[in-house]
Structures are given as C-alpha cells and as structure tokens.
Symmetry: C2
C-alpha cells in the first residue's frame, strides 16, 4: 500500500517590519521553492507580511490597507500549492490572521484567538479576539491552523480543531521571541499537544532581529505520538521540507462537516480545499538540527540581533568605544561577526585615569579582530570642562560629577564620529550595570543599540571564553578576562568598590527582575540582607537612566525594555 | 415633607504611586473630614491607595500584598460612613477594585469590568475582567459603583446597575488622565449616562502628576435629568460635599434583590448596607467651578505636572539651560510657578554663534522671574573638541556634527550642575521639535523631565502670552516672542532654514500623530505634498531620538510616550 503522505514546506524566514514589498517577495520566492521541492503545503510565520511586532503601525489605517493590498498578489502566487501566510485582516475589527491560499484563491482567514498581552506583548492593544475555529479539508487530510499563543494555552484552538474538527495535522504559525533555552520549553509543550490530540504538529517560527527582540527559528515537527521529527536551524533562515505519513492517524480523527459551537461565540467550520497536487513519494530526509549549548545560543542571538538592527536600520557600519574591558571587547567581537570586521571601528579614548594595559588590550583586540582602531585622548576636553566649571563648583569636593564628565566626553566623541561618518554607535553596558545603574547617562550609555544590555556580567565572561575557544586562540586577550573590572574614572577605581561581586549581584538581579521576587524571598535564598536591599535600591533608583537608554537584545525571560514598565515616580521600595 | 437627601463627599486627591502609607493617611484624613462635614458617603478616585498607574509594580506579589494589608486599616477608618476607595484586589486573579467600607467592615469589592488597553493604558496586562455587578442598598437608596472606563462604554456596568439593579445613584471612581479639553468630553458623556438611566451620576477623578500623565480632578455630579450640579476644581485637591435629593427618582428605579444574570458570566447582586448616619438637612452649597480657557488649562497642567514630578521624585530644585528663546523661557516660568523661583536655576551657555540678544533676553527673563542665573560659555570645550577631532575629520566639511557637539557640551554642563548640586534638569524641547527630531540627542534633549514635550510650538507662544497677561507685564520679554526661532548652532541659523513655518508644521504633526492620518489625507487638507512628505519622513526617522528622550507631560490626545509605540526598525514610509 502506498502510504498516505503529505509534503510540507516550513519557511522560517526573516522579514523586516514595515517592508511589505520585500517581505512579499520573500514569501513568493519561498512558495516557488516549496513547489519546486514537491511540497503540497507551505507554511510561513505569524505576521510574516508585516514583520513582527509592527506595534503602532497597526493603528494607521493606511498601513493596514497597504498590507491587505497584498492579499490578491499572494493568492496569485499559490498555484498548485496551499500557502499559509501570517498577516493582519480587517473585518470591521482588526485580527492577527493566518491567510490560507490555494490555486489563486483565498480559502480562508483564520483569526488568532488567544492574544498575548503580557511580557513584551501588547496584542490586545491592536487585535480583536478571533471566535471562529476552522479546519481545512482535502480528503482525507484535515488540518487546523492556529497562531502562536493559541497553542500555548491548554484547551486552546488546536485542541478544539483536533477534537471537534477532526484535524490530524495542527499547523501553528509563530513569531515567538527568543530567550535563553526557550526552545526546550516549546518542544515540551508542542510534544504534549501532539500526544494529547494524536495529531502531527507543524510549528513554523520566525527568524531575525526587530529592535529588542530576536526570533530564533527552530521550527519543529512532532509526530502524533509526540516524537520530534524535525528541528529547524537556530537563528538562520531555512526552507525545511518534511514528509508526514498520516495514514495511521486517520482512524480516530475522521473528517467533519460542521460541528457544535464551543460556546455562544465560537463555532468550528470545515473549509473544503481543492485536491492537493500529487505529492512526491520519495521520502524527504528527516532533519533534526542539534540543540546547542546555552552560551552558544546566546552568542548567536547577539550576532543576529546586532546584525539585523544595523542592516534593517540601513546602517552599513558601526563604531564603539574600546576600553580594554571585557564588555566592549565582547561587543566589538559580536559586531565584527555580525557585519564584518572592516565595518566596525573601535575607538580608544584614554584618560588620565586609564591604566597602561587598557589601551594595549584594546589595541590588541582590534588587531586580533582586524577592525580599524582610532585613539582619541579625552584630556583636553576634560581640562576645559574642569576649568570652566571651577568658578561654579568652588571648593566643593570632587565627586561623581567629574567621573561622569569623562564618560560624557566619550559619549560626545562617539556621537561626533557617528555624525561625521554615519556609523551606528553600539553601547557596551551589560545587564548587571544597566540593572544597578552603574553607568553614566549620556556617557557610556550613549549610542543607538545596546548589544549586551540583557547579558549579565557573569555571562559576558562565558561568551568571551566561548568565542576564544571557537577561534582557537585568545581573540579577546586573556588579560581582559582576568583583570578586575573597572570603569577607570578615578584613581585605582574598581567595580568592586561600589558593587558586590558579580557572582552575587547577578543572581540577585535575576531573582528581582526576572522572577519578581520580594526582598525577603531573595534573602531567604542565602544572600546578605544588606546586599539585597542595597542592590534593590540601586535597581529601583536607576529607572530614570534605563528609560533613556537605547534598545538592546532580549536574551533572558525578562529584559529591561518592553517587559519592564516600571514608573520612574515610584515611592514603593 | 422632609426631602430624602444624601450627602456625599467627593475626595479628589493627589496620591503618589507606591507611597502606600502616605496615600493611606490622605484617605483617612479625607474620610474624617467628610464625616465632620456630615457626609454619609465619601468617594475616592480609582486606585487611590496605590496611585495610578503603578504599572509593573502590580506584577510584584509583595506589592499587591502590601496594598491589601491596608484593607483592614481602611475599614477601621469607616465608622459612621460609607467609604468607597479605589485599590487592587487579589482573588485568585488581580482586579482593579472599588472597596466599599462601612462602620468598620468591608462590605464588598467591586471589580472593574471594562479594562482600557489602548492609548496610554495597559490594564489588560495586569487585571482580570470583573464579572459580578453589584448595587448597594441602604433603604431606600440604591447605588452602583463603577470604575472609570466602565462608564465610558455604552451598555456598560452603570447602565446595568441602573436598569437591572435599580440604582438611582451611579458612583464612578476614576483616574482619567488629562488632555486638552477632555473635561468637555467627560461632561457630555456623563450627562448622557445620567439622563439615560434617570439616575444621579457622581464622578470622582484623581488629581496630580505621575511621570507623563497628569490628572485634572474636575470631579462632577449630574442630576437624573442630566444637569450639571457640581464641577470640582481643575488640577487641585479638593474635598467636595454635595447633597442630592433623590426622593423624586425613587418611583421608577425601585430597590431590587437579585436580578437575572446579564450573561453566563455576569450577575447582579444587592449588597445591603447598614442604615446611614442621619444626614444634615441644611442644604450644602452647590459648587460649580467655572471651566477655563484651553490655554489656561494647559498652563495649569504643566505647572502641576512639573511640580509633582520634582516633588514626587524627591528633588528640591531644578535647573535648565536658558537660551533666550521662547521654549526655555516658558519652561523656566512654569518651573518657577511650580516649585518657587528660588529653586530654579537658569544657566546661560553662550557660544560663538549666540546673538547678543540671546544672553540679554535670558538674563532679563531670569531677573523678571527672580531665579538664580549662571553663565557658562561653551567656547573652551568646543575648541578642545574641534582640535582633538581635527586629525580624525581631516578635510571633511563642517556639518551637523559640529552643531551637535555644541549642543552636547551644553548637555554635559547641565548634567554636571545636576550631579554637583542635586538639581533635576528640565529639557525644553517642544512637540514640534520632538516630532521632527529637530534636537540633539544627549544635547538639548538631555535631562530628567521634558516639561513641554507635548506642547506644539504655536501653543508655546500662546502660553507665554497668557502668562505675560496674568503677570500684567512682559515676564517673558517681548523680544523672545517676536524674534525668529533659532537653535544658534551655526552662523545666522534659523529654524525656518530646516523646517516649514510652525503654523504649517504643527497641524501636519497633529494630523499625523494625533489623528493617525495617511499622507494623502493630510495633503487633501490643503498642505503641499512635498511639505507633508518631508515632515512625515522627519517624524518617522527620528524615532530613535524619541526612544531615548525623557518623559514629559501629556496634554494632547496623543503624546510621544506610552501612547506612541512605534518600532525604530521600520521600513514603512
């Protein structure tokens, strides 16, 4: 007996928010490629046509019209194939939609039912809740389409599509942002959904950076018994073709016509498709990309996030201050990996307080990376500021004011370089510093993109060691990784003068920021009460700095950014 | 016949987000004052205990616990009175709640049903939807309690409370942020609700500034025939006592016990209260604060917004650059009105491109306001930067780089003043500039609070003229109001070199930003296509600057801030 199989292409692509024409072309190219590979169905990510998240572009009527104008063009590209394309759909209200196309026609719009409005998501701001469940029939196959969050909730649309609609294939189109090891969470969940419903699960996720978010791809296919059949690449575009044998899962889930409504607002309906093209009956190879170490995963996230921000914002080059410290060394390395060493300029800006090794280490790094390196001493400007302010400051003691002036001079120099040469400035603050406000507003925080703002200092070291390991030598000089961290804004300054060891600071920040723990809970984990209270006070009181800091790549469950909406005026401590 | 009257105190107070103890004390003080004034019911704004909006503080379990710990203490303060207090309530899920207290007991929590998740609001991020409608009976009076948005929607909770619950008094507790002339919108709406339901409407609104929002008070009472009986003060705390004769509105709306459910999830229930204290049968005076001119209203909004930001963030003083231009003159005047002239320092930072009148006008303004004035010329630093950058810049022509350096030197100087003396820096950019990015990031946009960031340039002039008028002389020198606006960052520079006249720019910004109009719609209003396209391109491409700008006071329907969530990476133009 010839197995009843279906060949599905999963297009994990990297769209750009608002670039409708380019996104459309990318979709059409992948539809064509899917067809050439004998696929009968091709699946794209959630909102692939608009990019995700388009945020308040969705409040512009002309944007929504411009998006919808592509519907016919997309349909015209669907000859001989079923294409499932994420977009938005206006039907009195606006919906996050999955467009189902076949042979030149729009067969249906599926409207997302579960709208995430937590964490970085604001979908209730834009979308109405879909109420109509659909399954798509093409005898004898029945499949359901759902969108991202729909499959994350128990008893959600896919369960309904399987149980009431008879679907034996559950297709989920997603734009699921990355955080460290989220892949494992997804896999456990999707495997469960497949098992529970005795249905295949085909999960197509987006790839690419969009402001603070980065999408990791890693599309997935699970068999009806919950086994992983396919894992797509990490942080790379890919058209994946899989072949599913569904003959054995037709017994229980038989096709349906119209079922009972789930509630007063929700019904399920069968959309009959035209016969599928003849599939190719040579089995497509099974592709399971290996999972990666968490540190590798983060490094790749940062490289794609930085690269996409630079490219999608139409910059060609970037620059950053190289202090000889570990943070700027890592950011320079990421940038060189992202856009090519020749497009990254390192700028050393030594001061009277810089150690001799600082400039040496910065120069060595630049040489190792083969990036252009410039040196601009800040002393003349520092002297001018001190002399000018002397009459105003009188006998007042030197304090953090003078430290900040140095940092801000560097900010002015970097921005002057940016203005004159058109380079995007990358800032180099890590999550530990951004968390406790150990940075100078308009100084080291000045720049367009904060590459490692969500990377705790302890992880910064791990990333450097990983990068050195794959290079096979110390691209980032060993001394950078072993000397005690210092801002070098006064004589013999060390981070440890002001902050607890990063090995203590980082878990406190994680518990407070990512886990929303109360101070008492953190203390109960074995940290000193004084340290915990001091760290929390620093985090709370530096909100005003974070509010004015550039966006950067989210790599943890909760980053400072869209998922950290804390009032500045706030007396709760 | 003795009229059946009830005396209600409306406490439009100014809480501080997160300052639970101070907010609690303020509530108790007002309950006591209401009791002393013979009130039988006292009403507070939405979430008065937490302040509004507490944003992600609501995601901290310890914050919610700390808030709920005040419930008993609040109940204990309610002897001999019914107190309706806005707070949050955790009952498995979190609700935006109205706590109804009487004689030491918690009689009920009303849970807000309609959660705004548009504009500046994110309530679906935090709260679950209330489903239980309540009316409160104290023979023969029946009143309903609803929260803010509940009364804005047709067929919402108040309508239901009146029609199904028999309420003849609809109490709405609000934290309704100000924008220009919102009061008129509210009055029309509430009058309609009163008329439709033949019920009194008592509307208690919050007062005060919270980051970018300012609450205007202007609490209201409408009679069952929709007539305005009371309007509270604008932008001022006030305990208002009103006396309502409800004997004539008992015929149609008779008390009820338990009514039919409105849907499967929603029921209405009567909560029986204990007998009210004997009311005072001398009629309380009717108070209708006059409405004000839009310009006066905006000026008051700015004064309260600036003052509350400074006070609630625990600053005592502020400082700003005084250029002799109209924007900084207005901000200095607002600041002096907000926190006292002696607490505001003006800093003149002349450059080689400053006109002679610039420093004169700044000094005259400072003298008129009686604020301290300092002069710090920027030339030494400018020379140091130019000389230091010369080898790097080589023969490249002078361009915007050198303009920005000057502006950024001023930013560094102001921040040095702030660091040394503890003054908050106010920035002086207006909405027209912030809109088109006519500002220097880390330069004139450097500071903690952007007082007039939502005020279009044309309105800046109106505000100055208004302030001069009430002063009875030109506090803001006439020349400031008549000379052509200039950033003075190069020889003979004028704003009009780079931008359309503000009389053209401001309406384009309003149409694009506040009304979400497409370019074609704006052009159809009679603006030149080239101008419209240029302005929109400037707005779109300066998103990265706005993302790093300080918060400022919302005075229009849509300000750059929480209600402007536009991606930086964005190819839609």
């Amino acid at each position: 007996m010839i197995p009843q199989t279906i060949r599905i292409a999963i297009a994990q692509v990297n769209p750009t928010v608002g670039d409708l024409e380019q996104n459309f072309q990318k979709i059409v190219t992948n539809i064509d490629l899917a067809r050439q590979n004998g696929a009968q169905i091709v699946v794209f990510p959630e909102m692939v046509l608009t990019g995700y998240p388009p945020e308040d572009l969705l409040l512009k009527p002309d944007f929504v019209e411009a998006v919808e104008a592509y519907t016919t063009k997309l349909a015209n590209a669907s000859d001989g194939i079923v294409a499932i394309v994420g977009t938005v759909h206006k039907q009195e209200q606006l919906y996050n939609a999955g467009l189902v196309l076949q042979n030149g026609s729009v067969k249906a719009y599926y409207h997302k039912e579960r709208l995430p409005n937590y964490s970085v998501f604001d979908e209730s701001r834009y979308f109405h809740t879909g109420h109509q469940q659909l399954v798509f029939g093409t005898d004898p196959l029945i499949f359901g389409v759902s969108i991202c969050e729909d499959i994350w909730v128990p008893k959600g649309p896919p369960d309904y599509q399987a149980r009431e609609g008879g679907a034996n294939l559950l297709i989920n189109i997603s734009a699921s942002p990355y955080y460290q090891q989220k892949g494992a969470v997804r896999e456990q969940l999707l495997s469960q959904r497949a098992r529970d419903n005795r249905a295949y699960v085909v999960y197509c996720n987006m790839v690419g950076g969009q402001d603070e978010l980065v999408f990791d791809g890693q599309s997935l296919v699970f068999s009806p018994d919950g086994n992983l059949l396919m894992r797509g690449k990490l942080f790379e575009e890919q058209l994946i073709v899989v072949e599913l044998d569904y003959s054995h899962c037709l017994a229980d889930n038989s096709p349906t016509t119209v079922k009972q409504p789930r509630s007063d607002q929700s019904t399920i309906q069968l959309v009959e498709l035209e016969p599928l093209n003849q599939g190719l009956y040579s089995t497509a190879p099974t592709l399971i990309t290996a999972t990666t170490d968490p540190v590798v995963e983060i490094y790749k996230a940062l490289v794609l996030g930085v690269g996409d921000y630079i490219r999608k914002c139409s910059f060609k080059t970037c620059a950053l201050g190289l202090s000889g410290g570990v943070d700027s060394s890592l950011v320079a390395t990421i940038a060189a990996d992202a856009i090519g060493a020749e497009n990254v300029t390192g700028i050393g800006m030594p001061s009277r307080f810089s150690s001799s090794h600082s400039l040496e280490d910065a120069e060595l790094l630049a040489r190792n990376l083969n990036i252009p390196f410039k040196i601009i001493p800040i002393e003349p400007m520092f002297q001018a500021f001190l002399a000018t302010l002397a009459p105003l400051f009188g006998d007042l003691p030197t304090d953090i004011t003078e430290e900040n002036i140095q940092s801000r001079i560097r900010g002015v120099l970097l921005m002057a370089f940016s203005n004159k040469f058109g380079a995007l400035i990358l800032t180099t603050g890590n999550k530990s510093e951004v968390g406790v406000g150990y940075s100078t507003l308009y100084g080291d925080s000045a720049g367009g993109f904060a590459a490692i703002k969500d990377v705790p200092k302890t992880v910064v070291y791990e990333l450097c060691r990983y990068r050195n390991k794959i290079a096979g030598y110390d691209v980032i000089p060993e001394r950078v990784l072993t000397k005690p961290p210092s801002a070098e804004l006064r004589e013999n300054q060390k981070d440890s003068d002001s902050l607890p060891d990063y090995g203590i600071l980082d878990p406190i920040i994680e518990l407070y920021v990512e886990k929303s723990c109360a101070p008492a809970e953190i203390i109960n984990q074995g940290f000193s009460a004084d340290t915990v209270k001091r760290v929390i006070r620093l985090i709370d009181s530096s909100e005003y700095k974070r509010r004015q800091s550039p966006p950067g790549i989210k790599i943890t469950e909760r980053a400072f950014g869209k998922d950290w909406r804390v009032p500045i005026t706030n007396k709760y401590h």
